[in-house]
Symmetry: C2
């Protein structure tokens, strides 16, 4: 992807994450192309890329739609996050430099001081970036690569199944995780990370037979 495509890519991804583009919305190539003043070609490339990352779903001859993960898909995302992040945080305990620790600390502090002042979507995004920072500290680019996609998907999942309010505990958990890494206590770091991820998942409304209307007929003929 070149500069132009990356620009479009980031804007669309951000719009999905910030829920400006809601699940199941169709992304019409021509409209996006006009919005960015380019032809459909680079837009198509970006949509394909986003479909590899599963943020959009491309249906042949129909178009690209913002992902609307099912409950099963959401559970898979959380299971894989637990697997990868438990290992990532252990690696981070062993490998992270003092410089990286300071950066991580700065992120936690910022989260703690702003989480009530910023809006919900922004808070979730800050939280995600904390997790990604740990992936970056794990010394294997695949952690970052995979978790970047899984965390982006988590934003969408929260937008579907979330309760629309950030849990106060999130920042505190992050503080616990940071302290464990700083102490280089691998077992503790893994433990609090797993508890934290379970907490997030437990706060989703998987059991309240939440209907995700996919088609208009599902809305009008329930």
């Amino acid at each position: 992807m070149n500069t132009k495509e990356i620009e479009i890519y980031k804007k669309i991804k951000q719009a999905i994450i910030q829920q400006k583009l809601r699940p199941n919305m169709q992304l019409v190539e021509k409209e996006i192309a006009e919005a960015f003043g380019v032809s459909r070609t680079p837009v198509r490339n970006v949509l394909r890329r986003l479909s590899y990352e599963r943020l959009v779903k491309i249906i042949e001859n129909k178009g690209a739609f913002v992902t609307c993960s099912s409950i099963e898909e959401a559970k898979e995302v959380f299971e894989m996050r637990r697997i990868l992040e438990s290992r990532a945080v252990r690696n981070a305990c062993r490998l992270s430099s003092e410089e990286q620790l300071r950066e991580l600390e700065k992120m936690v502090k910022e989260e703690l001081s702003t989480y009530q002042h910023v809006d919900y979507v922004e808070a979730i995004q800050m939280s995600g970036e904390f997790h990604l920072k740990i992936a970056e500290m794990a010394g294997n680019s695949y952690f970052y690569r995979y978790l970047e996609d899984l965390i982006s998907l988590t934003y969408v999942i929260i937008s579907i199944y979330g309760r629309g309010q950030e849990e106060k505990s999130t920042c505190l958990h992050h503080l616990d995780i940071f302290n464990a890494i700083k102490k280089r206590d691998e077992d503790l770091a893994e433990k609090v990370t797993l508890e934290h991820l379970n907490d997030i998942e437990d706060n989703l409304r998987f059991h309240e037979n939440l209907q995700i209307p996919t088609t208009l007929s599902e809305i009008f003929h329930p």
Copy 2:
């Protein structure tokens, strides 16, 4: 990707895996397009997909080249395989159906009976498919998704750093892994899987200052 693109995708991927397209070879869009009797458009889509999977590397305004993983990249691939496969095989112990076990057994038996009669490349590919089968049995599509790419990359890595002969032990290890899964012995299954992956990595020539010539000047001015 539609049927036509999937066809092209599989053929190119297979050619890379079978070492007909060697590392660092340039994949010229026009040539591939003519070979398949299509325009450059679907070829470009396939090359982008392959670059997302890291089997090819696209350099802007220069073209697409078959991946030539560095030693560091190769080590990352093996580390991530150990992380994912150790968990996948544990899941497989718990979740696999009798039907799946029979299929896996069939694969091992076939490997054992043919590994000396088939050529090197084919043997490696059979080995990879055994690992993928376990990923499929792990009950989370991300195992398959990630390991499909990591195993494909492993083929390329072996073609660069391998000794050009299959280790006899590979099939026997697979048999051990299968037996552990059949016994539903998670700890044992994880142990033999990790040993097996370490074995494969240890047999690569990372330390024989193997030069991968990238440019001609590296060849003539060592």
